[in-house]
């Protein structure tokens, strides 16, 4: 994971973020992928980040427990 020690220009970091989130249009994406072909570490960063984001989206949404508002108002009363 050499990319962890590397610092890229903010514009490159911006491109990685946009690439990972599929926000680049075709021309930009093709151009950026040309850059990725030339830089192994940057390519690993971009591809890994893209996969990592997919995994994170699999995390289930946790929900607040029923009756939170009532319990909150009880605490508010106790505090006053």
């Amino acid at each position: 994971m050499n990319y962890l020690e590397k610092e890229y220009h903010p514009i490159i970091e911006d491109y990685v973020a946009e690439y990972v989130e599929d926000n680049l249009d075709k021309v930009e994406r093709d151009a950026f992928e040309e850059v990725l072909v030339q830089d192994d570490d940057l390519r690993e960063l971009a591809f890994s980040a893209k996969e990592g984001r997919k995994y994170l989206q699999m995390l289930q949404k946790e929900k607040a427990t029923e009756g939170l508002l009532n319990r909150l108002h009880k605490r508010l009363k106790e505090n006053n």
Binding site: P10, V20, L45, S48, G52, R53, M58, L59, L68, R71
Partner: protein
């Protein structure tokens, strides 16, 4: 500002609700709790991994919103202001728990009753569900293993769907650093679990 109408409470913006709450309309506060309780739970659970602690933190966050309502000004987005409170509370609890954990792992060698207990799990799960459960657990652990600065930003972006600008405001970090940490945080997650979950398989 228009007169507050309970029947329209769900149509007001967060910032309008705060202003109505500043004018003592409790229904406006209740609506903010309703809007954010699940999102906050989802956010804070990543720090606590305990639903009870998580509820305590949510309550504490809203207690502070309630107590400090008059210090809120419309210049800031309500969610940014509230998440800043929640994040600070979560960090404090996380540090406190880490200290407690470090203390609790030292068992007393002079105490004959201080021993480990093995508890058998009688809930036998089918393979697929078990794999899914283990994978999610692995993912949760990978997230917890990220450096704190990386984790909070990844959570705010990928679990809370906040904009980079909002994350920059909440964490008081330059935008370039936010993007760099999120990029690396995501990549590290992938690296930590790549041997565990095959690409293309569903959890």
């Amino acid at each position: 500002m228009n007169t507050f109408e309970v029947s329209k409470v769900r149509t007001y913006s967060d910032e309008d609700l705060m202003e109505y709450f500043q004018n003592e309309h409790v229904a406006a506060f209740n609506e903010l709790v309703r809007r954010y309780q699940d999102r906050l739970h989802n956010f804070l659970y990543r720090y606590t991994r305990d639903h009870h602690d998580c509820e305590d933190l949510i309550q504490e966050t809203f207690l502070r919103v309630h107590k400090s309502k008059n210090s809120y000004t419309r210049i800031a987005k309500f969610s940014t202001w509230m998440y800043t409170i929640a994040l600070n509370l979560a960090k404090s609890l996380y540090k406190k728990k880490q200290r407690m954990y470090k203390i609790s792992i030292h068992k007393d060698p002079n105490d004959s009753e201080d021993f480990e207990m093995l508890i058998e799990d009688s809930n036998i799960l089918p393979d697929e569900i078990l794999h899914q459960k283990l994978s999610i657990e692995k993912l949760e652990k990978a997230l917890m293993a990220l450096p704190e600065d990386f984790r909070e930003m990844v959570i705010l972006r990928d679990l809370q769907q906040m904009t980079y600008e909002e994350i920059s405001d909440i964490t008081e970090t330059p935008m370039g650093t936010v993007k760099s940490r999120i990029n690396r945080g995501r990549a590290q997650i992938q690296h930590m679990i790549k041997n565990y979950v095959e690409l293309g398989t569903s959890f």
